[in-house]
């Protein structure tokens, strides 16, 4: 007993020990925790730290969670991690944690997350340098999931054991330098090591492959013989072999002397007393310190950057110019060693160069060479430097070459149409544009290519109406060229789809990279999730104030299906109530809420609407729940004018669960999920049957939903799912509920024989179905009911009833089917179609036409479609 007590007490003390010496814990809800890829939140399994944990399906290693600690002082640290365990295969037995110190990988440790939850488990002890510690868990493990919960560090000892990195500083040149081919630059450096691990070694890499690396601390003069811009890098390594993690660099630009013709011109100098010199804030005049240009100089105390002196040059012709500045130097701290000069050409910042004003007075010191456009050059010195003063004296420019390389490209914008457009063969589209050129090289020339070889190119800025006589999808391209012959490198494009009249295959898609797409607010471009259309997608954090919009030109009024697509990852963070506003010619015709946490990766039907010619705008806002809203692509499909429009509502049997017969996916049906969904169901088959039988085009929209009851089906008719308002052009509804009402757990009473005034009526199958019929009728549509198929068991899979007719579920279904007859018989329900008896149909066929205990297979869905077809065409 005493032994047990002692062991427990020691164990408890050990448990407390880390806390006694300063444990730091970052939980998955803390600021130091970040994720890349989808990591879902959960608190289902106990053993986690804090309020919850994150988990990710095992994968390629592309997903990772990172705990980042600030290591204030070097020392030896113990690192440990906690998780919420579960048995295999629900947890990885080799979850990989990688330990990084200041970006250097120290170790990767795999941990078995199937066990040892509720505690911090050691990842090892490491000598860490001051800076950052990152513990990174990646998803490349076995089994199903890795869990990211919390990481703890405990400092065991300080100093000593950890080697700190050396540092190298380039003393010469002090900043970017521009020379001509054949000239030299003097290189010198200083190295240091915080823990004195000398001697240090040096490695200079000069960027030009023709120049050998140097291992001298001060290589001295190095000659560059090839034109180009080189990044010279100095890496210092200590005696223990640890290299400076941030090597010093300096840029060297080497120009061909007089390249581009003409050679160098005479310099133009603006002194601080000249007209081109202006000041903002107080800059005092002085001539106390020699080395200045002209009669004096100006100086200002170092500050926030609010004071600046500007030298403004008129650049008469484009070309390459060398810019240099002079000052009156003084030793530190009386001069800044990092006086910032910014170079602007026609208002565009080209570079900011810092110069050391403690030295090199009495001469013009290079600020670099730049390709400048004609217009203005401003050299601006600001006061946000170190030390006491910055000096504004004189700036000099020298033209090295003229013309050529500095011409900026023009830009062309298609004003009409404003987005992708769909027309019928023989119809026209009006084209108009606007061209511009940043350096005014006019007149501009225009070239329209219409994609259809039968249509001649146009060189008009506004070609006007262009008629397309051949069906197809064309990319119309506008290229604008300036007076110097430089063309817009990114010609504007717009898509034109031309259909045969009466075709029901009119499809126009606007992706987030197309001209018809625009955003307001910040929407991040990404391709990290899967299931997007085109090359990438956009997303925005929820919160409101941001809009993504897709614009279409509706050349022909009529009935259109409208679809949206989003990604199929990040299902826990993608908004379940993303709001799409649909506007036709600026008038809001619908607001559709879609759940982006499911059904990603294909085009989901937003709704079908009658549209007038003009514009269609689909606007997605970020006013939703969850973390992010996805803006990917939208699509419109023009329906034939004589379309016969049905909506199928129901549970998984309407959805098509169990239909693995790929041949059902080939029709031009009206399912709201594309072939990518891999589902079939009876809808496409019935669509074909009705179309063939009547000679009229049909569409049957699939609004089935897995696992729902009649009560939930009733709710889905109204917002937020809002089926009724998303199908305003529907004529008939195919209704099939009841399979889930009849589950033996809390079954729904049938309501057989009851009327609304009966006390046992409310909430029954009959009540729910009557309300569904009423809602459909209230929109002027007709409801068609079907009797529920037989159930072979209590759930889809598992054991079957010895006698399916007498199974708990089927007994109730039989009552529901009596109710179907009762509802059909009520004149006010306006049900003209005799409900197909799916119970008796499948009762004699389930052995060959059922996928499982409750769902038809491909053959069964064919039979189900036949039953609907026979009933409708009676």
């Amino acid at each position: 007993m005493q032994n047990t007590f002692t062991k427990r007490f020691i164990a408890f003390l050990l448990l407390l020990a880390p806390l006694c010496v300063g444990a730091t814990i970052i939980d998955n809800t803390d600021a130091g925790f970040t994720m890349t890829g989808t990591w879902k939140a959960s608190h289902s399994v106990p053993g986690y730290y804090g309020s919850d944990y994150r988990y990710a399906a095992t994968g390629s290693g592309a997903k990772f969670a990172t705990w980042t600690f600030n290591i204030g002082s070097a020392g030896n640290y113990s690192i440990s991690a906690q998780w919420a365990p579960a048995q295999a295969p629900w947890r990885a037995s080799n979850a990989p944690y990688s330990i990084y110190n200041n970006g250097t990988l120290l170790a990767t440790v795999t941990k078995d997350q199937t066990t040892a939850g509720g505690q911090f488990n050691p990842l090892g002890s490491y000598d860490l340098n001051a800076g950052t510690l990152e513990v990174r868990l990646t998803d490349n493990a076995n089994n199903n999931y890795v869990v990211a919960d919390a990481v703890q560090i405990v400092q065991n000892s300080s100093g000593g054991g950890s080697n700190q990195a050396p540092n190298g500083v380039i003393d010469s040149p002090t900043g970017a330098v521009t020379i001509n081919v054949g000239e030299s630059v003097n290189f010198a450096s200083t190295g240091s090591d915080p823990d004195g691990d000398t001697p240090l070694s040096y490695r200079w890499e000069f960027g030009d492959p023709a120049i050998a690396d140097s291992t001298q601390e001060d290589p001295g003069a190095v000659t560059f013989n090839t034109a180009g811009t080189y990044t010279v890098r100095l890496t210092v390594t200590d005696a223990k072999g640890l290299a400076d993690p941030s090597p010093a660099t300096v840029s060297v630009t080497v120009n061909e002397p007089g390249s581009g013709g003409g050679g160098s011109s005479s310099p133009t100098i603006i002194d601080n007393t000249d007209a081109g010199f202006t000041m903002t804030g107080t800059w005092k005049a002085s001539h106390s310190v020699p080395g200045y240009y002209g009669s004096d100089y100006r100086y200002a105390a170092t500050g926030s950057g609010a004071k600046f002196a500007t030298w403004t040059f008129n650049i008469g012709s484009a070309g390459n110019y060398s810019i240099s500045a002079q000052w009156a130097p003084a030793q530190a701290p009386w001069r800044a060693s990092n006086a910032p000069y910014s170079i602007y050409n026609n208002g565009t910042l080209l570079a900011t160069v810092t110069k050391d004003q403690t030295t090199a007075g009495g001469q013009f010191n290079p600020l670099g060479s730049y390709d400048l456009n004609a217009g203005t050059l401003e050299v601006r010195l600001t006061d946000n430097a170190n030390n006491n003063y910055v000096v504004a004296d004189a700036v000099q420019i020298v033209q090295n070459s003229s013309g050529g390389g500095s011409n900026q490209a023009p830009n062309g914008v298609i004003d009409s149409p404003t987005g992708a457009v769909t027309i019928n063969v023989g119809e026209s589209v009006n084209f108009a544009s606007t061209g511009s050129d940043p350096d005014g090289d006019t007149p501009l020339s225009y070239r329209w290519e219409f994609g259809d070889p039968a249509i001649a190119d146009s060189t008009q800025e506004d070609p006007g109406a262009v008629t397309f006589n051949t069906a197809g999808t064309y990319t119309v391209r506008l290229t604008v060229t300036d007076a110097k012959g430089l063309a817009d490198p990114s010609p504007a494009t717009v898509s034109v789809t031309v259909n045969e009249p009466g075709s029901n295959a009119t499809v126009v898609t606007v992706d987030n990279t197309d001209p018809g797409f625009a955003t307001s607010g910040g929407w991040t471009t990404s391709s990290s999730s899967s299931g997007y259309f085109g090359q990438d997608y956009r997303y925005a954090a929820t919160g409101g104030g941001k809009t993504a919009s897709w614009s279409f030109t509706i050349a022909s009024g009529g009935k259109y299906d409208i679809y949206a697509r989003w990604t199929n990852d990040d299902t826990s963070s993608q908004a379940s109530n993303a709001k799409y506003k649909i506007e036709n010619n600026g008038t809001l015709i619908a607001t559709v809420t879609k759940d982006q946490s499911e059904a990603g990766g294909w085009f989901n039907l937003l709704g079908s609407y009658q549209l007038n010619p003009g514009t269609l705008d689909i606007k997605l806002t970020n006013s939703a729940n969850n973390s992010i809203v996805i803006a990917d692509a939208t699509r419109i499909v023009k329906l034939p004018d004589d379309i016969q429009y049905y909506v199928a509502i129901g549970d998984s049997i309407t959805w098509g669960y169990g239909d693995d017969d790929a041949s059902d996916n080939v029709s031009g049906d009206g399912r709201d999920m594309g072939p990518e969904a891999g589902i079939g169901g009876f809808e496409p088959i019935l669509n074909d049957l009705l179309t063939a039988s009547t000679g009229l085009p049909h569409t049957i929209k699939n609004e089935g939903r897995l696992g729902i009851t009649s009560s939930q089906g009733l709710d889905r008719l109204f917002p937020p799912v809002d089926i009724l308002n998303r199908h305003p052009i529907a004529q008939r509804y195919l209704v099939l509920f009841g399979m889930n009402d009849a589950r033996p757990w809390l079954p729904v009473p049938s309501g057989k024989g009851l009327t609304p005034s009966d006390s046992g009526y409310a909430g029954t199958f009959k009540d729910n179905m009557q309300q569904i019929i009423d809602a459909i009728n209230s929109q002027g549509k007709e409801a068609m009911l079907a009797k529920i198929p037989i159930a072979l068991g209590d759930r889809a899979t598992g054991s079957t009833y010895p006698d399916p007719d007498n199974g708990a579920r089927s007994l109730l279904i039989q009552e529901y089917n009596v109710v179907i007859d009762e509802l059909k018989a009520i004149p006010g329900n306006n049900i003209s179609v005799v409900p197909p008896d799916l119970y008796n149909y499948f009762r004699s066929r389930y052995t060959t036409e059922y996928f499982d205990n409750i769902h038809p297979n491909g053959v069964g869905y064919q039979g189900l479609a036949n039953q609907w077809f026979n009933a409708i065409t009676q």
Binding site: F5, R8, F9, A11, F12, L15, S42, S44, V45, P46, G47, Y55, P85, A86, Q87, W90, G117, G118, Q119, N144, Y145, S652, L706, G707, T709, S711, Q712, R743, P744, W745, L746, P747, V748, P749, S759, G760, Y761, A762, G763, T764, D767, D794, R795, A796, T797, G798, S799, N806, G807, A808, R809, I854
Partner: protein, 142 residues
């Protein structure tokens, strides 16, 4: 010395409780199953058989309650319907297991006096206050 012993005893009690909790596994533990049975399923099964709507309500998840709101709040005969439907039936909780998405299902069977049997999985949410508190019950799985 007495004070030290008192403190050590208190610490040991805390430690014992900690060890007992960490020994729990999320599934398949018979003690855990028994505690779920006594805290949740036995009284829920009893309420189902008796048509005790007020008690049943206390064990349902919010989304499931919404699905049954009309029946619970406006159908005065739903309790009577349940008593009739489950007359002579025996309920059993066989297991609680975790699924791939970290949700849980309880495997339930119902056996009627005439020999009819039903067996299915029920979505359940673990108790937030410890194993002796209520599991919240959702819908049967497909």
């Amino acid at each position: 010395m007495r004070r030290i012993l008192t403190i050590m005893s208190a610490l040991m009690a805390v430690l014992s409780a900690s060890i007992a909790w960490s020994a729990d596994t999320p599934m398949g533990d018979s003690g855990r199953l028994e505690r779920a049975r006594s805290a949740t399923f036995a009284p829920l099964f009893q309420a189902m058989k008796q048509g005790d709507i007020e008690t049943i309500k206390q064990y349902l998840r919010g989304d499931t309650y919404e699905q049954y709101r009309t029946l619970f709040e406006h159908n005065k005969k739903y309790g009577e319907f349940l008593r009739s439907y489950y007359a002579g039936a025996t309920f059993r909780l066989h297991d609680i297991s975790a699924r791939a998405d970290n949700t849980y299902v309880a495997n339930i069977s119902i056996e009627w006096g005439d020999g009819r049997k039903a067996r299915f999985d029920l979505e359940v949410s673990p108790p937030k206050g410890g194993l002796d508190h209520k599991w919240m019950v959702g819908n049967p799985t497909q």
